[in-house]
């Protein structure tokens, strides 16, 4: 995977050092982990475990891509976990309601549910973006607020009880389906990643997001409209979170306010940071974030298989995240000026 990515970056001379400099230590770490686990525990490379890992990694990768985009623009999105939950319950509720009103019309039921779920993402994203861009409140505070509010709305809708009543076909031939031997979530994640890579590298939006994160004042002087693009990053992030919520709902078969949550939010930030996204803004590539999401998922899986105490597992995540940022900082400082 890593070589394909470097090849996509057209450059003159590619030395080993240059490759290492561009993609960092992450793929190596990933390979090491996979090789180590395969040697230690044959259960690790069992097909069920692999599919499980891929599915979970995909869900995390989708959220983390959105998170990465926001952070690259110099922001922060704490609300993604809550949006996953809200989108899940809203999708399930809407499907149940539409199914009751138009029984038998499966297409309409599914379309309305998915639209409502994604709509939640759009609304939360617009609120986040508007508050950050227009009211100039820091992204951290705004999304902390919307996180709390969104989670509250999700609980209110469900009273904490899972929502059922979705069409069978949505669960069986979408959520739990497999094409080419891979779960739906993997396909969706690949599409999202490809679209996001394209957006980052080949579109004005992506370029302006880098510019804004790199230096807002310079972007203003260069005639970039700042507000529109900042709102855009938050909307993308929330919509991707909502998409994850819908995928989870389809996979589990019920809408639950307990999906996503703080864990998902923290992991998405961890994935972005370990994937080389700078909290200073202006730096970061979603493909590495996706690899880092895979890495985190495998790490969690490995710790489970090795019967590490579940209370100890977050400690590993914490240590690795801090180490990744420290290493990044170290590399950055070693570069001189010309």
């Amino acid at each position: 995977m890593s070589t394909a990515l470097t090849a996509a970056e057209p450059r003159g001379t590619i030395g080993l050092r240059a490759i290492a400099g561009r993609i960092g230590f992450l793929p190596g770490l990933l390979l090491l982990l996979v090789a180590g686990m395969s040697a230690v525990d044959p259960q690790f490379y069992g097909i069920i475990n692999i599919l499980n890992i891929l599915r979970n990694a995909s869900l995390l990768a989708i959220v983390a891509c959105g998170q990465a985009l926001v952070i690259v623009a110099g922001g922060f999105d704490l609300s993604v976990g809550a949006v996953v939950a809200l989108a899940s319950v809203v999708t399930a509720k809407t499907m149940a309601a539409t199914a009751a009103a138009f029984p038998g019309n499966v297409v309409l039921v599914i379309a309305s549910g998915v639209a409502a779920g994604l709509g939640c993402g759009v609304v939360v994203g617009l609120v986040n973006g508007f508050c950050v861009a227009k009211l100039k409140v820091s992204g951290f505070v705004v999304t902390l607020g919307t996180m709390s509010a969104t989670a509250g709305v999700g609980l209110m809708i469900t009273n904490g009880i899972p929502v059922y009543g979705m069409p069978d076909i949505f669960v069986k031939s979408f959520g739990r389906a497999q094409a080419f031997g891979l779960p739906t979530a993997v396909h969706v994640a690949l599409i999202v990643i490809i679209l996001m890579v394209f957006a980052q590298r080949r579109t004005l939006f992506g370029r302006y997001v880098y510019a804004i994160g790199g230096n807002v004042d310079a972007a203003v002087v260069s005639g970039v409209s700042i507000q529109r693009h900042i709102v855009g990053t938050y909307v993308v992030s929330s919509v991707l979170a909502a998409l994850t919520g819908i995928l989870l709902t389809a996979q589990v078969g019920s809408g639950q306010a307990s999906f996503g949550g703080d864990r998902m939010m923290l992991q998405s930030i961890a994935a972005a940071v370990i994937g080389g996204v700078s909290l200073r803004g202006g730096v970061g590539r979603v493909e590495l974030v996706a690899i880092s999401a895979l890495f985190l998922t495998i790490l969690g899986n490995a710790l489970n298989l090795l019967h590490v105490d579940s209370r100890l597992q977050p400690v590993f995540l914490g240590v690795i995240m801090v180490a990744a940022v420290a290493l990044d900082e170290l590399i950055r400082r070693r570069r001189g000026r010309v």
């Binding site: 939006f205 370029r207 880098y210 790199g214 310079a218 002087v221 260069s222 202006g282 000026r337």
Partner: protein
């Protein structure tokens, strides 16, 4: 250290031998020798990227040299840190300010060496010491003001004051006058003279020949990280120094520009800005000439052109571009109308330092169909176009994928200039175009302006450096306290006339 020194001179205060420093892919310093005597002002002279910054960073302990020996007051120094350097009396004043913006001047002065009793700050004592120091320096600076409320010049003063607090044996000044007015510069020079008489050694980095002439005892010329020569300032000529620095002969600093004034392109009438920095200003700029605006730091000249570009709000007045009224200017629409602005502070407002040169250069043109269609970038076209432009501007090294943050001042300015060549423009607003760049790069900027004007563009140059404003412009406006106090053309454009127009105003309103 060596025995072969016959008439044993005074032991140098600082003695560096064979200092080398290597960064990833770059030999920043290559076996540099430097000796600074007590009471001597030693100028480091060289182009951007010659290694001056790296060298003063080594001396002040920011990073260790890879090899070489470092003696200070006769003692060998190893493992120098910035704290240790300050403790033994090495005090640097960097271009990039080391002040905490949200703290007051006084808090900044004592940062890291606060006066305390049992962990409790002694605020009054510190206030007294700070005030005493500032009075002694003769700076017009209020120690209780927050640093981010200060102008750049005042921040520079605070920075110098900070370096002089406590014991100082060796003072390092990196282009200290870049943002000071003439008067403040005069004060600084008096201060330098006093420090010298007290036996303080000074390392002084500057690109300004006049300063080197007035201040320097010895000059060390660096080129490409190597020590070229150390000479006595008194017995060397400007030409000699520049030649040593660049490795080539430069006859004239300012090119001869043929101005052919055409129609009025930029016309400003009774312009007043929201913050009062510009009041009732009338002026115009014509195609085919350079219109200069001279004035002291903070006189409103930068704000004036920023308002035309649309990044400072105006409250009243009219701007006309090529005869058509231009209401509610905004950066994006200015670019569409063919107006480009080149900010003075290229780090703060010009470049996204983490992004490559290519992206920085194309940032202002991505709305054009040549660069993007339906929101999708045309990368091949972008790479080809920017690559060509950077080659034309002689970017060294010619790699457009390098991050802008890794570039020297001169190369950063080239990236900014590249923006001018990426789209059809008719009006060029330059804000302090030569701040922080070396003589060679300056020359290239001036040649660049010359080619713009001779191709029929309207160029407006705002400069605090009087010789520059005089030499480049065809017509020169002088601003003072937000107003235009004089318009000088032809033979009237003399340093004398510019200064007297400040002075005339000073008689009526004496404000700092």
């Amino acid at each position: 250290m060596d025995v072969d020194v016959a008439p044993k001179p005074a032991e140098p205060l600082l003695q560096l031998r064979g200092i080398s420093k290597h960064f990833t892919g770059v030999q920043a310093l290559d076996r540099i020798d430097l000796g600074v005597r007590a009471g001597e002002l030693h100028v480091l002279f060289g182009e951007n990227g010659a290694g001056k910054s790296t060298l003063i960073n080594v001396v002040s302990g920011t990073f260790p040299p890879d090899e070489g020996s470092f003696h200070f007051e006769g003692e060998e120094i190893r493992h120098l840190t910035p704290q240790r350097a300050r403790a033994i009396g090495i005090s640097p004043v960097f271009q990039e300010f080391s002040l905490v913006p949200s703290l007051t001047v006084e808090e900044n002065l004592f940062l890291g060496r606060e006066i305390t009793t049992g962990g409790v700050l002694r605020a009054r004592e510190m206030r007294k010491r700070a005030q005493a120091l500032i009075d002694e320096l003769g700076f017009d600076l209020d120690p209780s003001r927050r640093v981010d409320d200060l102008s750049r010049a005042h921040q520079q003063m605070a920075e110098i004051a900070k370096a002089l607090l406590g014991k100082v044996r060796l003072l390092i000044l990196d282009e200290p006058t870049a943002s000071l007015t003439e008067r403040e510069t005069g004060r600084l020079f008096e201060l330098i003279a006093r420090l010298k008489s007290r036996g303080v050694g000074l390392i002084y980095v500057s690109h300004r020949m006049r300063e080197i002439r007035t201040l320097a005892d010895r000059v060390t010329v660096l080129r490409d990280g190597r020590h070229v020569r150390t000479l006595d300032a008194a017995s060397s000529t400007d030409g000699e120094l520049v030649e040593l620095m660049t490795g080539r002969k430069i006859d004239l600093l300012y090119p001869t520009i043929t101005h052919k004034p055409g129609k009025v392109i930029v016309d400003v009438e009774n312009l007043t800005l929201a913050d009062g920095s510009v009041r009732d200003v009338n002026f115009y700029g014509r195609a085919g000439e350079i219109t200069g605006i001279a004035g002291l730091v903070g006189c409103g000249k930068s704000e004036l052109i920023r308002a035309i570009y649309g990044i400072e709000p105006a409250t009243s007045g009219a701007i006309r571009i090529d005869g058509a009224p231009y209401e509610f200017p905004a950066a994006r629409r200015s670019l569409k109308r063919g107006i480009a602005y080149f900010p003075a502070n290229r780090t703060a407002e010009g470049l996204a330092l983490s992004r490559p040169i290519r992206e920085n250069a194309s940032m202002t043109v991505l709305d054009l169909p040549a660069f993007a269609r339906f929101g999708v970038l045309r990368q091949a076209a972008e790479r080809a176009k920017i690559g060509g432009i950077m080659a034309q501007l002689q970017l060294r090294p010619p790699n457009i994928e390098r991050a802008a943050g890794a570039l020297s001042g001169g190369n950063r300015q080239k990236v900014m200039l590249a923006r001018a060549l990426t789209r059809e423009l008719t009006v060029f607003l330059f804000d302090e175009p030569s701040v922080g760049i070396d003589v060679g790069a300056k020359l290239e900027v001036y040649e660049f302006m010359k080619s713009l004007v001779e191709a029929g563009a309207a160029v407006i140059v705002v400069s605090s450096e009087l010789p520059e404003a005089l030499a480049l412009s065809n017509r020169l406006y002088v601003m003072h306290h937000g107003r235009i106090v004089a318009e000088l053309t032809g033979a009237d454009r003399t340093e004398q006339n510019v200064l007297s127009s400040f002075f005339r105003d000073h008689l009526t309103a004496e404000v700092a």
